[in-house]
């Protein structure tokens, strides 16, 4: 799945921002517009366990992306997704609110006695204002159709490091460099 059908040279990876996920991918999906590149598959009818996503969802590194629809209970073959906290707004760089992001944690077993895992899901949906204003224009279409689409990012909890930290040892060396520059009192 590393090859996303996008003809890019080595080194390019699918690392979308929240804004891109919502504005470019989710919005187009929900509005039935073609996504270009059409890389995120629709797994709406397939409640996979997170470890089953490989080969089915779009994989990049240790993250998996897929479209789905909102449901009250996200139950999979071997467990369920439990909501974590409330909704976080997704805003554009121009501070316009375009969507909402919700965290889930995966539990194996049956609720409420499931066992917590390290699998996390971020579920992005279009913000209600955006969807309702749109759907009101489209009379005759139930507004749920539009707002039910979500795009999900699943990963096993890990550091959110993006590589702009030095290795620990480098930090030590870097700090020691300062010792060369001690000012001596005269």
């Amino acid at each position: 799945m590393a090859d996303n059908n996008v003809n890019l040279p080595p080194g390019f990876r699918f690392y979308p921002t929240d804004e891109e996920l919502v504005v470019h991918f989710l919005h187009r999906k929900a509005a039935l517009l073609p996504c270009n590149p059409d890389v995120i598959p629709d797994l709406d009818l397939y409640p996979y366990d997170p470890w089953e996503l490989d080969g089915k969802a779009l994989a990049e590194g240790n993250q998996w992306y897929f479209f789905s629809r909102r449901t009250q209970n996200r139950v999979t073959g071997n467990g369920y997704w439990k909501p974590l906290g409330g909704d976080e707004p997704v805003t554009t760089s121009a501070s316009k609110r375009v969507g909402l992001k919700k965290y889930y944690m995966f539990y194996t077993g049956e609720p409420p006695a499931g066992i917590k895992t390290n699998w996390i899901m971020q579920e992005y949906r279009l913000s209600d204002t955006a969807s309702s204003s749109r759907s009101s224009k489209r009379k005759g279409h139930p507004k749920t159709d539009y707002s039910k689409w979500v795009v999900c990012r699943v990963y096993e909890r890990d550091d959110d490091d993006d590589g702009t930290e030095l290795s620990c040892l480098d930090e030590v060396f870097l700090s020691l460099d300062d010792l060369d520059e001690i000012n001596f009192p005269n």
Partner: protein, 405 residues
Amino acid sequence: MPQNMSISVNGQSQVPPGFRFHPTEEELLQYYLRKKVSYEKIDLDVIRDVDLNKLEPWDIQEKCKIGSTPQNDWYFFSHKDKKYPTGTRTNRATAAGFWKATGRDKMIHGNSRRIGMRKTLVFYKGRAPHGQKSDWIMHEYRLDDNTTDTNNVSNAMGEATQEEGWVVCRIFKKKNYHKTLDSPMSSSLTISETGTSQWFSSNDEGTLEQILGPEHVGKTCKEEDEANNSKRFLRPIETGVNNGLIERCMKLPNLECPNSMITSQTCYQQIHHDQMLRENDAANIVTNQMFSGDPNPDYHPETSFNDWAALDRLVASQLNGQTETSKLLSSSFSDPSMAITALCSPCDGDDAQHIQLLQPQSSSSSSNRPYHTTQDYNNEFDLWSFSRSSADQLCQMLQYDRPTL
């Protein structure tokens, strides 16, 4: 699905939405730099050539944009030229400052074969030696075809021959270390009570708690998160961080400060004492991690391996407040009695303990007694000899009343 996305970077059209240039070190070396040195055409003009003497880091940021999406790091090719026709040093000065190498070069492996080296440089504003350190960091990658030996290669060797030619570089602004994770994800990480109480009872009881205040005990912070999560080291661009760590530590030269053992002890105690007051939560967490992770006091190299990451963090955090430390050292230099006081500080035991844990290879009997506190200063020197020259300076500072160095 349409495949007519023509992507030209740095120019008119763009990388498709959602995609970023995040090459692995192997891709940088094996694909991009290898093509560059053999004059092969690279499909897209993703990595541009940059004259490091002409562009400041913030200019590179502009020049090496890929598409219009936000970036955390920037890539470019650079041709290294000698600073002097006869010398081996590279000229990396710009109008506003200069790039200064730090640390040791890191080997880069691909398919379990050594494929290149990575040098880390820091941008200083101003002119050497009075530059002001910035947050701009450069990783400079060079191909390394000559050496087939995958280990035991001294990095210093062959350095001279590597100082010319094309390199591929990545610059980024360093994140700062001491930040807490506020996301809900981190809430499950807490300090185990056992570890904390062990730590306190093995020392001056309650002292640290007084220093720290109770709110610091049990604080969740990034250090601990990472200590718990050794997976971080499997991230593509940093793969192999651990590989050379122990080896490098073991290879450290001994501290050559023969006539001033007690003095340099003193000055490091002073550093620790000072740092204790601010950096203590990090130290505490790390220590806690070690003790709670392995209640058996016997040292198992395998199980303690992950703790190296934590210790690394500890050392970095202990050293991070260098500015203050420097000031402090300066002041202790003018007032020798301060140094004496530091020697008697209640933190002696703590420091020795940290340092002892940094030396799991020393298979002396003391390894079996993690709470033993007095006899491991030599280990401490091993550690601190990372910067032998710096340590020498410190020794001299405290010994002689020298106005300049």
